[in-house]
Symmetry: C2
Subunit: 463 residues, 2 copies
């Protein structure tokens, strides 16, 4: 457990802040017992740092009051949704206050006539998806964490997901935000006139303000989904197939790629029925009407066969779909069959550069006593490069060296260090690889304009 070392002055300020918080918030919304605080010390990266205070706001006023106090006493604030982030966004690196936004979980309004919904940040993404589905509407962003991650966290990290190729990612669906700024003032973005402030805050990772209301765009729910699995004896063939599908002017709802190491892990984990000869796998969902699917699926099957898939399988029932997707869903836990530790780098390159980046990753790995499993949203060029390492001496350091080399190649190919997981503290060291100096400086100026005292999620995004 990391404990941020505070000076005497800082400790006093924290105590003053706590005293004031106790005056404006009801008791049960402010937690200070260590056993409570431990529950708010980690996230999906398995980093740990103990907050001094946990605040559980119920509404915008609570958020505003807390921020006013935090700002006054210069106490760090770290917002937390489900704590499932993969770059450290919710870890209170410098102690201070963690905002547990889980209680702000109302769906304020679904307006089917206008295809919009307004929700509080603590709403779980899957719940939003399910609620709008009752109106035959669809909220497309679908991170793998959708069943437990919150929409607030999704917006903060600009979460991606498996539907990105056809539908885009979180940023493409955020129409308006109610934001509490560090000084406690409440702004509303999303008016059309003037500069676009909504997009500036989307993906800002809790470094500029706290979202208290989120208005999302919805689209009509596709009538039907059909799934295909295609099996290849070579990863380049699978990549060719993905290209050929898209060349045929079809944008699948999902286009997932699994490499051999990933398949091996899954096979060992689930006992999934995947032959030994399968060295790469494409999982494809298409959605639309009965008619459009009937038109597209044969083209997709054909593209796979033309690219030397030795088998394709179309799922016709929900059960068959589920069986095909089980292997994809099991990847995360299955990878730990390879080794006990994982660095998951969600790199992103232009689609045309996927073969090349995987070739370079192979080259970097060549001869090193470490495993790398690659899978991900191939249509977006968003590949999860998973570097698996053991507790043996030197393994962690080797993994870090490999990550460094991979990141350099990604940026050299015009790609991004983060396809969909954000920067947090885990990737902040690579920011300047990707973002040129002047642009980086502009971002830091925005940060200091909104948060002059630097209380908002310190240690994240910028180094």
């Amino acid at each position: 457990m990391k404990l941020f070392k505070k000076t005497k002055k800082e400790t006093n300020k924290h105590q003053d802040a706590l005293n004031e918080l106790m005056k404006v918030m009801s008791r049960e919304r402010v937690l200070t017992a260590v056993e409570d605080r431990i529950c708010y010390s980690y996230d999906g990266t398995k980093q740990k740092a103990l907050p001094d205070i946990v605040v559980r706001p119920e509404n915008t006023t609570d958020v505003s009051n807390t921020l006013k106090i935090a700002n006054k006493y210069e106490v760090p604030i770290c917002a937390r949704g489900a704590g499932s982030g993969l770059t450290g966004g919710a870890v209170p690196l410098m102690g201070g206050i963690v905002f547990d936004l889980k209680n702000m979980n109302r769906i304020i309004e679904i307006c089917p006539d206008d295809f919009v919904a307004t929700v509080e940040p603590g709403v779980v993404t899957k719940q939003l998806q399910d609620e709008v589905a009752k109106f035959d509407l669809f909220y497309p962003p679908d991170p793998s964490s959708a069943a437990f991650s919150t929409i607030g966290g999704n917006v903060a990290e600009c979460a991606g997901g498996i539907t990105g190729l056809k539908y885009g990612v979180t940023r493409d669906y955020i129409l308006a935000l109610e934001i509490v700024l560090p000084d406690g003032s409440v702004i509303n973005t999303g008016r059309k006139a003037g500069y676009d402030l909504t997009r500036l805050f989307t993906g800002s990772e809790g470094t500029l303000g706290i979202f208290t209301k989120i208005t999302v765009k919805l689209i009509p729910k596709p009538e039907k989904i059909q799934t295909l699995a295609a099996y290849f004896s070579n990863k380049d063939d699978a990549i060719d197939a993905a290209d050929l599908i898209i060349d045929n002017n079809i944008l699948p709802r999902t286009l997932e790629f699994l490499d051999q190491m990933t398949i091996n892990a899954v096979r060992g984990y689930t006992g999934a029925d995947i032959d030994e000869e399968v060295k790469a796998l494409l999982l494809v969902d298409i959605d639309g009407t009965e008619e459009s699917i009937g038109h597209e699926m044969p083209i997709i099957e054909n593209a796979c066969r033309e690219s030397k898939a030795f088998r394709t399988k179309v799922a016709d029932t929900a059960k068959e779909r589920d069986a095909i997707w089980a292997s994809r869903r099991s990847i995360s836990p299955a990878l730990y069959n390879i080794a006990p530790h994982k660095i998951n780098e969600d790199i992103c390159v232009p689609r045309s550069k996927i073969k090349e980046i995987l070739r370079r990753v192979d080259q970097i790995k060549e001869g090193q006593p470490i495993y790398i499993a690659n899978f991900g949203h191939i249509g977006d060029g968003n590949i999860h490069v998973n570097i698996m390492y053991s507790d043996d001496p030197g393994q962690e350091a080797l993994a870090e060296i490999i990550v460094n080399k991979v990141m350099k190649e990604v940026v050299a190919l015009g790609g991004s260090i983060s396809g969909e997981h954000g920067i947090g503290n885990k990737k902040s060291q690579f920011m300047e690889l990707e973002v040129p100096p002047q642009e980086y400086e502009i971002m830091k100026r925005f940060k200091s304009y909104f948060d002059p005292k630097g209380i908002m999620n310190p240690g994240k995004m910028f180094i």
Copy 2:
């Protein structure tokens, strides 16, 4: 012709800037003759203001050199694409330099594998659409001005268009920008890591920097388009039909509405074959595959009939499509049959508020000796309210009063003062109606951060 009155000091600065420009730019790229300058004094609003100098850059270096000089001598800079804007964006209200970006019209790269294209700002939007179509790709934003407006102008104003309901507007397709800032430095936005700067500049109306390269997202070109016209005896029926089409989970590529006054104007102008009994018209394009169109068009026809359309007509040939769309295309010139002057306010309200805003517009007009024609992109809630007035005494003032009242109602209904034409100087007086004080202040702070000397398109967006 408006001539901005300069002080002696300003005149000297302009002369110094000109002298320096002459040193770094070749002669033919700097125009000072009055007959040349007049050509750069107006835009689609018919306002006029004479620039002192016209610079016609050929590349980013030219733009950067000019901005450095303008910034040094504090000379206003106004960027100009085709000059077809409808809110005054390209009018050099305070004189100074007009940047004619028409010569920066190269399509730098179309990358069909990655569905992106990079172009210079002076490329005409239609040309971009046509060039990418050769690769079976589609750049969806389609403002009515596409045949002559430039992509740089489209990005600056965040142009909308008739495909917005299904495909979104310009902002949804801008992936990256090369921007020259007022100090002459060149930044590149569009990296995924960090804050989203691309969107902040998109729609910034030349007030923050000059775009010199624009990277756009493309999507597969739909196989086929089919068109339907539906005729109604009542405008509310047409609005109901539009709602019902969308309720059926169909997002038409285009969903245009024309009210009675608009139809009267078109009828008088083109001799179009539209019966007297037609009081409202819906024009619908759907696109997709043969199969999806075959599925959707009967549903659309049915929705129109259920909403009391007394006739529907599906165009099967290109010629028939063209005949149907001719009436829509003729609106702008046709309206001048009603009266010699027009204020075209492209208001935008939530779709569910269209009937209500049109009712309120009727109420505002009630008994006033003026004509109002309403038409537009009904699926987006983006209605063009055209206030037509004559040269008679008091008419212009009355038109302005009506505009004011309409804007207030639009904002009261949660709408925007500008759906797709930007703010410019024509709507800057209404900015504070829509944008709350603190958000307005934030925008002004961004403006002064990037442009501390206020040389970038002064007089636009902010009052």
